[in-house]
């Protein structure tokens, strides 16, 4: 059980401070809402030059050890980049790629790490294929499978929400192999045409794909280290929760700013609508929920990976941040009145992002249930 009397302390490194400032400026500059809307309308993937710029800033290798071409920092530093991206609704393969790199780090063979991690640091796109069509959040429940015949693995099943898969050089998928969860590394050349189907998802800034594994064959060396796989899956789950929390916190702050701007400028019945307590007070509640989420986020970043304490912190951050963004964006639509009901109002973009963030890797109810198992 957790010692609830212990005073938790957030630590914030100089690297985090620098990254937060650089990323905030970068996002303000490169991801204004007009660009995000253009990209949605054009249904385009992220522009390659922008991605290369992110790579050149070193963001893809933040949490990759120096020996593999990264900076040797932690996911706590990645958080400071993801949060402003969330605020600006940037939809980039940064999270997918970071998580895939973590999977490699935690369970990749020496050869896999040496081949792929440096490429990722330089801008290769990678992604994970964990979800399945039933939408269950329990990552260890896997229907997809790999069977070995000699040196060849044959895959079977369907993976969903494989983000950025069409532009990815590398997909790491979870399958059952010899009755146990396993991770396999699928390179772009192993994906025949038709294996990826674009999914229609609520968050239009995302590029998500369904991956049909049936008949895909791989060399047996595509398997990640079986001994390390269970721990790696657990690590990926928590890492994903951490980064999605960062994205949701940023989003909550972004949509609160959208709301405040409207409340300060729109008049009804000859008064600024922000002067009405019916709008002002819930907006304050949204602010406080976001501030709390942000505190949980940076504590989770501080103790990430630290056993039970780390797991508790990251689940709390995920629960609180998802709820904060859901509330702030739902109220933002409402408080925009008729305009809020139109596609032109940015509130709906944040609401869609909020549904995405809750749907991925578990909503607040799910994480509270997991926390109860740990705490009581």
């Amino acid at each position: 059980m957790l010692d609830t009397n212990k005073k938790p302390t957030i630590l914030f490194s100089d690297e985090q401070e620098q990254l937060l400032e650089v990323a905030s400026n970068f996002c303000r500059d490169r991801f204004p809402m007009s660009e995000t809307r253009k990209r949605i309308a054009a249904d385009e993937d992220l522009s390659r030059p922008l991605w290369d710029e992110m790579a050149s800033l070193g963001w893809l290798g933040i949490a990759v050890p120096e020996e593999f071409g990264g900076s040797g920092l932690t996911l706590g530093e990645v958080v400071t980049v993801v949060e402003p991206m969330g605020e600006h609704l940037a939809g980039t393969p940064l999270i997918s790629t970071t998580l895939a790199a973590q999977a490699l780090l935690k369970a990749g063979t020496r050869a896999q790490k040496e081949t792929w991690l440096p490429k990722i640091c330089e801008g290769a796109i990678a992604t994970l294929a964990l979800s399945e069509p039933d939408g269950d959040w329990a990552l260890e429940r896997i229907a997809a499978s790999a069977t070995a015949s000699g040196d060849t693995l044959t895959l079977k099943g369907t993976k969903t929400f494989v983000t950025d898969a069409a532009s990815a050089d590398l997909v790491i998928a979870s399958v059952l192999f010899e009755g146990k969860p396993a991770l396999v590394l699928i390179t772009r050349d192993a994906l025949a045409a038709g294996k990826l189907t674009r999914e229609i998802v609520i968050d239009e800034t995302r590029r998500s794909y369904r991956l049909d594994l049936d008949g895909i064959t791989l060399p047996k060396s595509a398997l990640l280290d079986a001994d390390k796989t269970p721990a790696a899956l657990n690590h990926i789950d928590q890492a994903a929760c951490l980064l999605l929390s960062a994205e949701a916190c940023g989003g909550a702050n972004g949509v609160i700013n959208v709301t405040i701007d409207y409340l300060k400028t729109r008049k009804q019945f000859d008064r600024y609508i922000g002067s009405y307590q019916a709008l002002k007070h819930p907006t304050v509640d949204a602010l406080l929920a976001m501030e709390a989420a942000r505190s949980h986020l940076y504590y989770a970043a501080t103790v990430f990976g630290d056993g039970i304490e780390g797991e508790v912190a990251v689940r709390m951050a995920k629960a609180q941040s998802g709820s904060a963004l859901a509330f702030a964006s739902d109220r933002s639509i409402q408080f925009h009145g008729g305009f809020g009901f139109t596609y032109d109002c940015d509130a709906q973009l944040y609401r869609r992002r909020g549904i995405w963030c809750e749907a991925q890797f578990g909503d607040a109810t799910h994480h509270r249930a997991k926390l109860a198992e740990i705490l009581f």
Partner: protein, 404 residues
Amino acid sequence: MSDNTPSPAELDAFRQEVADWFTANKPTDPGFLLPQSFMEVGTDEQFYFLRDWQKKVYEAGYLGMAWPKEYGGGGKPQVLQDIVTREMVKQKTPFMTNTIGLNWAGPLILNMGTEEQKKAFIPGILSADDIWCQGFSEPDHGSDLGNAQLKATRDGKEFVLNGSKIWTSLGRHAKHMILLARTNQNTNNKYEGLSFFLIPMQIQGIEVVPIKKLTGEFGFNQTFFTDARIDESCLIGKEGGGWQVAMATLAFERGAVGGQAGGHAMNSKHVSEVVALARTAKRNGKPAIEDVAIRDELVQLIIDERSQALNSSRARIKPLTQERPSSIPMSGKLIGSEYGRRLNQFALSLQGANAAYYVGDPLAYDGGLWQRSYFNAFSGTIGGGTSEVQHNIIGERVLGLPKS
């Protein structure tokens, strides 16, 4: 409307006949997601599908059954139409898409229109050959109808229309509009400057521009009027008497008085459908309905949905509403619309990772209906006076609290 009231046995037989007809004739899945009300009709394929369905129901004799025969109605007792309407709700058939015609314009014309207007308009309303839309709300003063600014300037036997109306559903398909416009800028009382018109939509100077909704779909429009000329015969009621006509129309719309053609106008989501969803969706390998936290919320939703039905029932019992007779009638819209938003939002939370699918993805539950329905629920909590304004109204008019 008829002298020969049906006997209980006749009613039972009719009930059975109707149930059989709808079972046999209700449309099968068209292969695309249908709207839940006329306000959500966003594509041509949706529109034509729904128009054909209304026509089929009408031609079977199941719409406008209590409207006068001479204008295309059935001339039968209202009780028969009510049986039909209930059966349509029960069988969850698509709604009657010419809603403005059937529930707003039709009753108004039958009640206040000239013989010519009745002959000209009523048959097409029932058959869905002539679609109607409404022009009440304007941009910038949504709920404040009495403040309508669209100008109708008299020019001999014509009026010239300038201005704009918003949220005109079916505006692109409509042949006619019921329109509230300002014929006099200089009255002491803003209400006295308003007049009410039945206008043709397919004339020069009227442009209908679709509004893209937060769902990404269409259904609402903004209608721009630029020197559009209409004949003075389009007036219904007196010049300057538009406010009274508008209030009468809204009374028809709310069903506060009789006269609607029948058929249901909306396929609302019910908690029973969310319960069904909770039986399907998986959480930790088990149906979501086995999760205690989910059960708890589901029960609360069932209680809240039933509260609304029970409120309606209690509203008819005077001794049980005498302390604040307006409390239940005035709060129905607030309660219902907020419930709708909450129900749909909860339905999303049941779907696990798949909550992130949207309309059109084959893996989306019910074709993405819940995602769309959650977004569309804001039309209830925003349109027709936001929930915040409703709270003010109830606080002030029911509880007598001082104005804000």
